[in-house]
């Protein structure tokens, strides 16, 4: 300071003042740092009439009318008197989102689950048996839900190591192993799906389309889609072996299982659009809808039965009159839960959460999806409407029956590490970076290292 006048007039900071400020700052910083934890630890006084839901885009997190208008918030408010706080992320991002929230005791009231990514997160869900018994009585399981749906609930109880308890209620069910196709392409080249009963016949149809300058199949890189392809083609290369390898009764490195990777590589490299292995899911559907290829097997389950009530009118019309479906020859179709609905154990809002779970799986929410989007459900009372397409004859009847009766060979990928390994190595095989043998060895190693609980 250069001015003596200033030296005289400026009041120096006393030691006491200084320490007071320093102590206050330190205390404030400490409180700010621990405040979120304190808030999380305190009982949350949830606003009455609200339910928060996290999930991924599936028919279970939508309520589209026939013209594709989203109405879920309005319907939840109308039916339940609850304000819905819906937070959706893409399926591959669901696990990181849950990991960031659930172990810290935070997160939503309800999670719309995906079996493939839920593995370690089931433990943060609450058992629903108490709610269900009050609602439907002691025999609620078999009274309300189909055998196929129940078999998967039991698998989840096994993961949490609390057998007999229900950690979610099954929502919509999916049938894996079938493509959509443009009827005009198949008719123009005399391809009759009713006679396509072998994998060779399927490949022959692909060759015909390819020779005509048409991309036979539109594909994408989505992990769930890659897993679906694997599960479907295992039934071609090694029928019935998906369950055996996961119970330690066979190996992923067995020759016939290795062949599955080669089949996928052939499909991707010979019959899909260029770069399919790195094509984003939405782009692949756009390409199919704009007739960029004859078939689409990006997702083979029911989620994209949403084509029936798609936001785009042209897609809706195509689904009703221009698209056909058929079961992949060899693949028997896998009936499994597309999405279950679970309540987070840390939720302080479980009563509202239960209202929502019930609505989405057995109530108006489920009924609407069954009626408008032809979704099959785990709840027996909810029957999907006829689609008015060849799905009803080509796929629907036998597979819906299997869903209800449980007469369905179980081929679900049980262990999250195996799922991750399969979806990790397939692009390596497709792009020629690793061989099918190395891929199979990697998957087997993942199974050996982390999936011991499934070995019988």
């Amino acid at each position: 300071m250069s001015s003596s006048k200033h030296e005289k007039t400026e009041k120096p900071l006393s030691r006491r003042d200084f320490l007071r400020i320093a102590a206050s700052t330190t205390a404030a910083t400490s409180i700010a740092a621990i405040a979120p934890g304190m808030a999380a630890a305190m009982p949350q006084a949830q606003e009455a009439g609200t339910v928060s839901v996290w999930g991924w885009p599936t028919q279970l997190t939508r309520y589209l009318d026939e013209s594709g208008t989203e109405m879920i918030n309005e319907k939840v408010l109308e039916d339940l008197g609850l304000t819905l706080e819906l937070n959706l992320v893409d399926q591959p991002d669901l696990a990181p989102k849950l990991k960031a929230a659930l172990p810290a005791g935070t997160g939503p009231d309800v999670v719309t689950t995906d079996f493939d990514v839920m593995g370690p997160y089931w433990q943060f869900m609450t058992a629903l048996d108490g709610f269900a018994e009050v609602e439907w009585g002691g025999n609620w399981r078999t009274d309300v839900f189909s055998d196929t749906a129940l078999s998967e609930m039991d698998v989840v109880a096994g993961i949490v190591e609390r057998p007999g308890e229900a950690f979610y209620l099954p929502g919509n069910m999916q049938l894996l192993g079938w493509p959509y196709y443009w009827i005009s392409d198949f008719e123009a080249h005399d391809i009759d799906v009713s006679t396509m009963t072998t994998f060779d016949a399927f490949i022959s149809a692909c060759d015909t389309l390819k020779a005509a300058g048409i991309t036979p199949i539109i594909g994408a890189d989505h992990p769930a889609s890659l897993a679906d392809w694997f599960k479907s083609l295992v039934e071609v290369a090694a029928p019935g072996k998906m369950a055996q390898v996961q119970y330690g009764e066979a190996m992923f490195t067995d020759t016939d299982m290795v062949e599955t990777f080669n089949l996928i590589s052939t499909i991707f490299n010979e019959y899909m659009q260029e770069g399919a292995i790195a094509t984003e899911t939405g782009a692949s559907f756009d390409s199919f809808h704009s007739h960029g290829g004859a078939m689409c097997m990006t997702f083979t389950g029911t989620p994209f039965f949403g084509f029936l009530n798609n936001e785009n009118e042209e897609v809706r019309n195509n689904m009703r009159s221009n698209y056909g479906t058929f079961q992949m020859p060899g693949a028997k179709g896998l009936a499994s839960t597309d999405a279950g609905v679970a309540i987070v154990d840390a939720s302080q809002n479980k009563d509202n959460a239960w209202l929502y779970v019930k609505w989405a799986t057995t109530g108006n929410g489920a009924m609407h999806a069954a009626e408008v989007a032809a979704q099959p459900f785990g709840a027996k009372a909810i029957q999907p409407a006829a689609t008015g397409t060849d799905f009803d004859t080509n796929l629907g009847a036998p597979l819906f029956e299997a869903l209800q009766s449980g007469d369905n060979v179980f081929r679900r990928i049980l262990c999250a590490d195996v799922y991750n390994a399969i979806t990790n190595v397939i692009p390596g095989v497709v792009t020629g970076q690793i061989t099918a043998e190395i891929a199979a060895a990697d998957v087997q190693e993942a199974f050996d290292r982390n999936c011991g609980q499934w070995v019988r």
Partner: protein
């Protein structure tokens, strides 16, 4: 009390002569200045030191990052990482490629562009704006935009190549294992170039005009001025940029996540993305922690080596 024990703040007020009135910090000779830094130290410990210690600790366990139980496995994560992990080798290779190529290009092109913009060009402010513009865009926007541009069906990059008659250059930019990492890297270079140019420009503008005039008198003009004057006098800037560039390259994550998610297979994977993938998507938190520690050590060692080498160069030029 000796003058050695006087704190900074104590100089602003009279010192009590009476020993019995000595306050707590005087009695125990505590430098009250410590209280000034306490909030910062607290934040540092909480958000920097503790996570590092916790990560090092986790790296010795088989842990999914969720369960309460975790199994101590010693150095197994490190051994697996360094001896068996194919993805790790690929991500290290990609990080090295990223560091070498992007830093080289950014240093050379960044300097040359800045040098040109430092000349009396017409519309130079417009050029500066255009070059700096990508730096102002959000990384997410850049990622989505370039993903769209790289698309095989109708992406503008392949369309331009077709228009220019360069069909043989057309690639599956984000699906070809041999190309993807370079395609992602190009976006990184494009988005960072503006910053490097601006920093170089500031350094060049700090060189007094007198030096250029003296050099001209001595017969050094044009490119010789650049080589013998501008380059040596911006060497400290280059040194800082190299270190920052290397740290940026070794921690590269955003563009890989947005454009290729490390694929196809691990062809464009970098270490930071692998950490994310292992820790958050596949729940191998212990293993991811070991990888993080290795990443930290590589960053530290290479930065120190860079500092030593570049200090030598600076001394040479100095």
């Amino acid at each position: 009390m000796s003058s050695d024990n006087l704190s900074v703040s104590s100089m602003t007020m009279p010192i009590t002569s009476s020993a019995q009135h000595k306050s707590f910090w005087k009695r125990y000779k505590i430098n009250s200045g410590l209280f000034f830094v306490l909030p910062a130290v607290f934040m540092y410990l909480l958000f920097v030191a503790w996570p590092i210690i916790s990560t090092i600790s986790s790296s010795f366990f088989d842990w999914d990052g969720i369960s309460i139980e975790r199994e101590f496995i010693g150095l197994k994560n490190y051994i697996d990482l360094l001896t068996r992990d194919r993805a790790f080798r690929m991500s290290v290779t990609n990080n090295v490629l990223w560091a070498v190529i992007s830093i080289s290009v950014l240093t050379v092109v960044g300097f040359l562009v800045a040098y040109m913009l430092n000349q009396g060009l017409r519309l130079r402010n417009l050029y500066r704006t255009l070059i700096f513009l990508p730096t102002t865009a959000s990384l997410v926007v850049i990622g989505f935009t370039w993903e769209f541009m790289y698309r095989t069906d109708g992406g503008i990059v392949n369309q331009i190549l077709t228009f220019l008659g360069l069909e043989s250059w057309i690639r599956l930019w984000l699906a070809d294992a041999g190309v993807t990492i370079y395609a992602v890297m190009l976006v990184g270079i494009w988005s960072a170039l503006g910053s490097w140019v601006v920093i170089y420009l500031a350094a060049l503008q700090g060189i007094p005009q007198d030096l250029y005039d003296s050099a001209a008198v001595d017969g050094a003009t044009g490119i010789r001025q650049m080589i013998h004057l501008a380059i040596p006098l911006t060497m400290s800037t280059t040194r800082a940029l190299l270190i920052l560039g290397f740290i940026g390259a070794i921690n590269q994550f955003g563009l890989v996540y947005l454009l290729s998610r490390g694929g196809p297979y691990h062809a464009s994977e970098v270490m930071a993305y692998q950490v994310y993938d292992l820790a958050f998507k596949t729940n191998h938190t212990g293993y991811a922690s070991a990888l993080s520690v290795v990443l930290l050590m590589i960053s530290a060692v290479v930065t120190v080596i860079q500092l030593i080498l570049l200090r030598g160069r600076a001394a040479l030029f100095g």
